[in-house]
């Protein structure tokens, strides 16, 4: 049984984004607007940087607008002008990443013009971009989303989010399944997953939080992580990635989308997020936090691991 998800508001959102971008660019309020434009394949969408009001109508929003554009504000910012305010189209999950980056001194709120998108969900990476959004074709992250309506943006199209059918929480279910296993069984599950890794580092390149200019995994003096795709080095990389994202990951699931080997990377991220929530009552949110749980200490911190 395939339940369709109402995405009729996306047309109105597209229009609103185009109008707002045109206004911002013609008034010179922003130097560019980063958003989504139609790709070459039918129904596909690609990120676009619009600097001219005349072509603002290229901007669209569809269920295929999967990319987290926050990455274009950190390490992919070479394309983006250095001066002036930057307009950026953000879904709730993308906004969480932006907020996290603000807490880590990577972005300044006053340098951004945020165009928030009320989002009913986007397509899973496993389906064609022209597929209709249904309970089966929606991305897993969208099923568990708690940020359909971005808050604190400069502009949000005036539309009403339709109610969605009840969706299955795939990550939560999978985490529960893994937690019920013995440590040895769990280890063998992840060992198998990491064995698939080809060390292409696509997960790193797409992640807005992997903003280091020189990743420690690329260092060779000393070499922290083995560079060849062997099981031990793969595991080391994925542990480094999971630990570095613990308490920071916004759950945009871009890593999982771009992984050519279908490693369930966001599953690991969600498990880490769950641990952080349980241990420190902390989760990535739409509020800027000066100190994350792993860079602060309080008397109430869990000490049970000290034996």
């Amino acid at each position: 049984m395939t339940q369709p998800i109402d995405t009729s508001i996306y047309a109105a959102i597209t229009e609103a984004i185009q109008a707002e971008a045109k206004r911002l660019l013609s008034e010179g309020q922003v130097s560019v607007v980063i958003g989504y434009a139609a790709g070459r394949r039918k129904g596909s969408v690609q990120p676009v940087v619009v600097s001219d009001a005349a072509i603002a109508d290229k901007l669209i929003f569809t269920p295929a607008s999967v990319n987290n554009l926050a990455v274009y504000l950190t390490k992919a910012k070479k394309e983006i002008p250095k001066s002036g305010k930057i307009g950026v189209v953000v879904k709730g999950c993308d906004l969480k990443a932006l907020v996290g980056l603000m807490g880590e001194s990577q972005l300044k709120r006053e340098e951004l013009y945020l165009i928030g998108v009320p989002c009913a969900g986007v397509l899973a990476s496993t389906v064609q971009p022209d597929t209709v959004l249904t309970a089966d074709t929606i991305a897993s992250k969208c099923c568990e989303c708690d940020a359909h309506l971005p808050t604190g943006c400069d502009f949000v199209p005036n539309v009403t989010l339709p109610t969605r059918p009840q969706l299955e929480w795939k990550y939560a279910a999978e985490i529960a399944r893994l937690e019920a296993l013995t440590p040895a069984e769990r280890w063998s599950f992840w060992k198998e997953q990491f064995a698939k890794c080809i060390k292409c580092y696509a997960c790193r390149q797409v992640c807005p939080f992997c903003f280091c200019e020189q990743c420690l995994c690329d260092r060779n003096k000393p070499q922290m992580v083995e560079s060849t795709p062997r099981p031990a080095g793969n595991t080391a990389w994925h542990i480094v990635r999971a630990m570095h994202l613990a308490g920071r990951c916004a759950g945009c699931a871009e890593c999982e989308r771009v992984c050519p080997m279908d490693i369930p990377l966001n599953l690991l991220n969600r498990k880490m997020a769950k641990e952080l929530k349980e241990l420190y009552d902390y989760e990535a949110s739409l509020e800027v936090n000066e100190k994350g749980p792993l860079t602060s200490y309080t008397d109430k911190d869990d000490q049970s691991f000290i034996k």
Binding site: S105, C212, Q214, L216, R219, K221, P222, H244, E290
Partner: protein
């Protein structure tokens, strides 16, 4: 190419008993980069150090590894020797084959193999050591003393007499501490107040001492030579500048029935009060919890009668920041309240002794107040219950102390002597009375101490019963003490009029919180830890912080005074230089890799990380990176562990060095 010299110490037999040092020297000699290796009985001795210096020069050594004890013990010694031989001291590392090897193993074969690996790791590490220039920081020649008991007073006077400014902070409204509460002191029976109060007055009048009473430490920042201390001056509700100390307010205050903590709650005081008549400063304080004005908003009698208009109900707590170069912690002790079971502690109470339930079961300090001429009974020994003179009195020793099963295993050190003193004071005041003492052992080392104890038995007629008391209970107006006399092997039952418990000496409540503010370590009882039990007894492991008195462990007055003067001497040694040379083991930022996420700044406990702008020649901002202020950095390495891109490294402990050590295994 490195020419490393390895020097293996026997440490007498401490190492050579379990480690075949000659074989270690032989094996290490074969390692790449090692040009010279040898062993010697006492490497830290003068001939040992000469051997090292000679080898550096003759063998043209570039790096040195000393395989001996913990670097906390002798790293400084050997680095100095290496420097004397012309090498940079930070090209010398220690391999700990004593604490980490010989002391913890028995099998010589395995211990030797481990020692070779430990030395091998340090050889790999030292290869990557850099010459480090010493860092100099200025010294603020002002001292902070926390606690105004006899320890704090002595340290303050010693430092101030040397010409340095002293800030003395006391939590209570008056300085004096526990010594001011005592009646007479062992082993000479001179009056405590008579020897204490002149010193208190000296503190108040000393031009170099700034006194903050009724104040607490809020925050401590900085490092040796450069601390910034925030002091919370609690509202006194009386203007210290206006008050003349006439005391009219206290005589007129309608709230007269508040138990006085200074008199162990057996005497009463008013809501506006000085804890005792000889208080310094002699400025009253309003106890806002018990004051009618603060409770109901109506009264204000003290304000009306105050001539100079010093009473100020609006006064607020004040935060004051003081810059100091050294801190002496002299927070003293507290007595074990045996009817309480401290929450979350392994210490179990003594319900069987009825303390808190039977009014005439009191502790030693309460007896001091009863015996004190300035106490609530004017120096008469009277029962708290009915004010009658007790004719049979029982003293019980080691209440809490030396009772592992009850949670405290240490000896409180002062109780044997003060109980002997109590029996004498009792005998002097109640001529027809009889004192009994239940004791485990009498511990009386110290000048004239054993003679004093003997006197209490031989001349003052105290009856000492070796054994413990199992139970106390009230029977009519008597307290039945059931115990055993193990010397004779019989059960003893005494019907006493009053019982005095020698309760254990414990650290002040909140000692742990203060230690956390100061960044100093403490033991499981919350006594503060000295840097070395024998050789650095008054210094904390945290540089620039010193200990005096019972906050470090139970102590009597002579010992406390000696320690306070020792701490003062340490402070004065520090203040004898204008610049302080400190270890250059500090973190450095690799700016090329830093992306300015400032995770390091968030975790830095020393506040050493700053933001630094990198600009091109035209002045355009390229990026903002982290910068570690070497004067402030404590060298803990937390930033290094936190940095996601490994762009900050601690000199002497770089990732390259740590990885080299791991790979050597």
């Amino acid at each position: 190419m490195s020419r490393i010299g390895v020097f293996i110490c026997h440490c007498g037999e401490n190492i050579s008993r379990t480690v075949d040092v000659e074989r270690v020297a032989l094996e290490v000699g074969k390692m790449p980069g090692v040009a010279f290796s040898t062993d010697y009985k006492y490497m830290c001795s003068d001939p040992g150090q000469n051997l090292l210096k000679k080898a550096i020069q003759e063998q043209k050594l570039t790096h040195v590894v000393v395989a001996a004890c913990s670097p906390r013990m002798h790293e400084k010694t050997f680095r100095k020797a290496v420097e004397a031989a012309g090498l940079n001291p930070y090209l010398c590392e220690m391999a700990n084959i004593r604490e980490h090897c010989s002391w913890v193993h028995e099998n010589k074969e395995e211990a030797t193999a481990k020692a070779i690996e430990i030395v091998g790791m340090m050889v790999e590490r030292v290869k990557k050591n850099r010459s480090l220039p010493a860092i100099t920081v200025p010294v603020t020649k002002r001292a902070l003393i926390i606690g105004g008991g006899i320890a704090g007073i002595q340290a303050a006077l010693d430092i101030a007499d040397c010409g340095h400014e002293v800030i003395l902070v006391e939590r209570e409204p008056s300085i004096g501490g526990h010594m001011a509460q005592l009646s007479e002191t062992f082993p000479t029976l001179d009056c405590s107040q008579c020897i204490m109060t002149p010193k208190m007055v000296d503190v108040a009048n000393h031009p170099k001492i700034k006194l903050y009473t009724h104040s607490e430490i809020e925050l401590v920042e900085g490092y040796i030579g450069n601390f910034q201390v925030t002091i919370k001056k609690k509202a006194r509700s009386v203007d210290e500048d206006k008050c003349t100390g006439c005391g009219v307010c206290m005589t007129k205050c309608p709230q007269k029935k508040i138990p006085n903590k200074f008199d162990q709650n057996i005497g009463m005081r008013t809501a506006i009060y000085v804890p005792f008549p000889q208080a310094v400063p002699n400025t009253p304080v309003i106890d806002r919890e018990n004051c009618t004005m603060f409770k109901t908003g109506k009264c204000g009698v003290c304000q009306k009668v105050c001539g100079p208009g010093a009473v100020d109900f609006e006064q607020q707590d004040q935060l004051i920041v003081e810059a100091v170069g050294a801190i002496v912690v002299a927070t003293g002790f507290d007595l074990y309240t045996i009817n309480e079971k401290p929450k979350g502690s392994a210490i179990k109470g003594y319900g069987e002794f009825g303390h808190g339930k039977i009014p005439d079961v009191i502790d030693g300090m309460t007896f001091e107040r009863l015996a004190s001429a300035s106490g609530p009974t004017g120096g008469k020994i009277l029962r708290p219950s009915d004010g009658k003179e007790p004719k049979q009195i029982v003293f019980i020793q080691c209440i809490g102390s030396r009772a592992r099963e009850k949670g405290i295993s240490y000896c409180s050190k002062v109780c044997c002597m003060y109980t002997a003193k109590h029996t004498m004071l009792y005998h002097h005041k109640v001529h027809d009375g009889q004192a009994y003492v239940f004791f485990m052992d009498a511990r009386t080392p110290g000048k004239s101490y054993d003679e004093f104890w003997r006197r209490s038995i031989e001349e003052e007629e105290a009856v000492y019963i070796r054994g413990m008391v199992s139970r106390l209970y009230q029977k009519g107006d008597k307290i039945v003490v059931m115990g055993s006399d193990i010397a004779v092997g019989v059960q003893v039952e005494i019907e006493a009029d009053m019982v005095v418990l020698a309760t254990a000496v414990m650290p002040q409540k909140g000692a742990d919180t203060l230690a956390q503010k100061l960044g100093i370590s403490y033991d499981k009882y919350h006594f503060y830890s000295e840097a070395h039990a024998k050789l650095r007894p008054v210094e904390c492991a945290t540089a620039g912080i010193y200990l005096a008195g019972a906050c470090q462990g139970p102590k009597d007055i002579p010992e406390t005074v000696s320690q306070a003067s020792a701490a003062a001497a340490k402070v004065m040694t520090l203040f004898s230089k204008d610049q302080l040379e400190r270890e250059p083991i500090v973190a450095r930022v690799r700016e090329a890799g830093c992306v300015g996420c400032f995770a390091c700044k968030k975790v830095c406990a020393y506040g050493a990380v700053e933001e630094k702008e990198i600009r091109d020649r035209q002045g355009n901002l390229i990026k903002v990176v982290a910068y570690v202020n070497p004067g402030v950095c404590g060298g803990c390495g937390t930033c290094q562990a936190t940095c996601p891109s490994k762009s900050v490294e601690l000199d002497g402990y770089t990732d390259e060095q740590i990885v080299a050590m791991i790979e050597a295994l």
